[in-house]
């Protein structure tokens, strides 16, 4: 993820954005199959990176300890690996 701190959005907005992204992806790919999970993971990372406010919101949640709450609120099986990958970047 970009090291530049983007204009940050609230936790609620971040959760909502992620809900929308995963809901879209779940329509196109089957998250019970490895192929579908791989596709959702790649597309989700791309979508997050393309939205600086959302990237900023996730980065802020990682920093201020609300990431667990964010993961629980979004409740999508691919979010954890996505966050892990973004944390590494």
């Amino acid at each position: 993820m970009s090291k530049k701190v983007a204009p940050t959005q609230s936790l609620g907005e971040t959760v909502e954005d992620l809900h929308i992204i995963f809901a879209e992806l779940d329509k196109s790919y089957d998250n019970r199959r490895p192929i579908g999970r791989s596709m959702i993971m790649a597309k989700a990372v791309e979508a997050i990176k393309n939205k600086p406010a959302l990237s900023g919101g996730i980065a802020a949640a990682m920093k201020n300890g609300t990431i667990i709450a964010l993961e629980a609120a979004v409740a999508h099986p691919i979010l954890k690996p996505v966050i892990a990958r973004l944390a590494k970047a």
């Binding site: 490895p34 192929i35 791989s38 596709m39 993971m41 990372v45 791309e46 990958r85 970047a89």
Partner: protein, 292 residues
């Protein structure tokens, strides 16, 4: 590890024409033509001289992709070059590619015909000529070219190294198979890590980088090359498999990959392509059925 210690290199290497192996009759240590032959020229602006190997497939896949999005100028004749018969050493072929390897392209739509050789150069030439399958934005374009050049530099380890020693060599040499398997697995891990967070090689855009990489690395993980998917533990590269499967569904790719192919299922062999409807009527299964 088994060792081969009975060979000491001589002072000056000599060409041993009896060296054996699948490609022994075509490999030689000298360049240039072995015989005079003029290449055929069909009716389309682009004349491709090729064979349906991974390097050949790259070009026919791109041409079919260009035609699929309506680039009529990408119409082409694909002439079969049988490398096992030495067609790549004809004077006509050497004039198009002094390196005597498929694929080679002549573009007759330019004021004087333009020759293009090396599959990566052909992909770049066609992508730039038609303005598709290469990003215009500078950093994305750079990423695309980085992966294109990565493929050109890496695939010889896969084909010339791993494929040669695992599949074609007349004797199985553990040292060579180990060396190239190690490198190919490292390359697959490079791809796997990248594709974990990218739907295509250059983010969400399908480009000539994917078109270059798929026929080699996609083929290996989908067990379409060297029968080696199990040996290299293909399931360890799930993101490469996902990417390969997703691309394999593209109708243009399905057409492009069978052009100039002379092995595999008869339905997957279109020895020469001169018209779009050759895919309907001229695959080897149709030709065999018509001659029955």
């Amino acid at each position: 590890m088994s060792s081969q210690t009975d060979y000491t290199p001589p002072k000056v290497w000599q060409w041993n024409t009896e060296s054996g192996g699948t490609w022994a009759s075509t490999n030689r240590p000298i360049a240039g033509p072995t015989h005079d032959k003029v290449l055929p020229v069909g009716k389309h602006p682009l004349q491709l001289y090729s064979l349906g190997t991974p390097n050949g497939q790259k070009v026919t896949i791109l041409l079919e992709e260009l035609l699929a999005i309506g680039e009529a100028g990408a119409e082409y004749d694909a002439h079969l070059i049988k490398i096992s018969d030495g067609d790549q050493f004809s004077s006509g072929f050497v004039a198009v590619n002094p390196n005597s390897k498929i694929p080679a392209l002549m573009d007759h739509s330019t004021p004087t015909p333009t020759r293009v050789f090396e599959s990566g150069s052909i992909l770049l030439y066609l992508a730039e000529k038609f303005g598709h399958f290469i990003p215009t934005e500078h950093s994305a374009r750079t990423e695309c070219l980085s992966w294109l050049f990565w493929q050109m530099g890496s695939a010889p380890y896969l084909g010339g190294g791993f494929g040669h020693f695992y599949s074609y060599a007349p004797i199985k040499i553990e040292y060579c198979i180990d060396r190239f398997t190690m490198e190919v697995k490292r390359q697959l891990d490079v791809l796997n890590r990248h594709l974990e967070t990218h739907s295509f090689m250059v983010g969400d855009q399908y480009t000539i980088a994917d078109i270059a990489i798929w026929p080699w690395y996609g083929a290996v993980v989908q067990n379409n090359a060297y029968n080696a998917a199990e040996f290299i533990d293909a399931p360890a590269y799930p993101h490469v498999i996902r990417w390969a499967e997703q691309i394999a569904e593209r109708p243009a790719l399905k057409r492009g990959r069978i052009v100039n192919r002379i092995s595999g299922d008869l339905a997957d062999q279109l020895h020469e392509r001169h018209d779009a409807d050759d895919f309907e009527h001229r695959t080897q299964d149709k030709i065999a059925a018509a001659s029955d």
